[in-house]
Symmetry: C2
Subunit: 228 residues, 2 copies
Amino acid sequence: MDGPVLSQSCALSLTCCADGGSLLSTKAPQVSGVRVQLEMHALWQQFDQLGTEMIVTKTGRRMFPTFQVQISGMDPTAEYVLLMDFIPVDDKRYRYAFHSSSWLVAGRADVAAPSRMHFHPDSPARGAQWMKQTVSFDTLKLTNNLLDDNGHMILNSMHRYQPRFHVVYVDPAPNSHLNAYRNFSSFSFHETRFMAVTAYQNHRITQLKIASNPFAKGFRTADPQDCW
Amino acid sequence: MDGPVLSQSCALSLTCCADGGSLLSTKAPQVSGVRVQLEMHALWQQFDQLGTEMIVTKTGRRMFPTFQVQISGMDPTAEYVLLMDFIPVDDKRYRYAFHSSSWLVAGRADVAAPSRMHFHPDSPARGAQWMKQTVSFDTLKLTNNLLDDNGHMILNSMHRYQPRFHVVYVDPAPNSHLNAYRNFSSFSFHETRFMAVTAYQNHRITQLKIASNPFAKGFRTADPQDCW
DNA sequence: CTCTTGACACCTAGGTGCGAACTT
DNA sequence: AAGTTCGCACCTAGGTGTCAAGAG
């Protein structure tokens, strides 16, 4: 497991567990009480049940659904940096079997793509600012270009990833780097896992994207099957 | 006169004069050396020669040309807030005489609109960040709605205004507010003055807007008179 | 009469999946 | 055969001046 696993209904209690128990005392008070709730979790779960796929392109592609969270429990006056990264779910490469409509292991993972952090563009900001409205990572883009210099997140196609969200308290104290491990808290939502692809494999994923992403409205039909 | 008057070719030397002479020593070193250069000054001057008009609407309208500046002389590591405001050029209300194609005084100014400051959305940021590229106020909007709650700049139609630009050093020292007057520097560019209007009065202004604003391309003709 | 408002056609800017062409 | 790339039509989102209608 890569960090705490959260699901829709119990997100708050489980994020609590991330720093809970005997470990609580090792975290700074500015982050120990932070709670994070995933927005659009119903949509995320709908995708997750089919096996979420995210397109990666050379120039960079947005995620859909967008990763958005509601935050509580920050120190309103303290300064925080918010960021995301993506970690491989396993060390496997996959391929899609159309005849059985399922993903099969196709060998060991390719060499790992350069690991990057995506800082939320409003960083740094005070807790009060982050908490007063949904925090959206809608400008984050995924690419399969190993040489990307636009600051996009580099992923290997046909590999599975788990998005991670990090809350970092900007400690004004001198030598605060010595306590760096105390000043951040990380959150993972199981239903946001996805397969990186250059073209959609599962036709039902395509249909759900078309049905739910406003920018794909041009591909919608009057067919009531839209909702599938 | 409302602050230093700057024109195209001597912007640097004249902004220098803003804090120049015996007053120089009264400003904090973080702002005393700041220099500001107006971008697109050739276009601004073209408008100014005709008598610039800016549309104000209930929902808010962007300025065109956009107010953009190139900054130098900041302390790269110091933190600054950048902001704009608009001050009445005089206490007069105007009307446009179509037969003579000129603006006439139409009495005393209306009651002053609520005076607001527009903070550049990237504020606060370090000097190095502000200086490394053009600072643009393209999201700033003008409105004639006295009850506006979208944070737009409220102006009276048929009144003349002078945009002002302020550089404020964020002084980390305790009780820095006691020295607040030392920590900012203001800049006015004469060629950015304009008349606020709800509809364009001078037809040549309309034509120059159509010719130079990309969003008005739909109104361009193949006529070579475009450049007038 | 002067001035303001709002619906409108026409743009810019950029996010979609499609499907043919390309690569391996 | 499997996977990637790219131009495209079709959208969202929102910035233009126009013009007819409205307000005072």
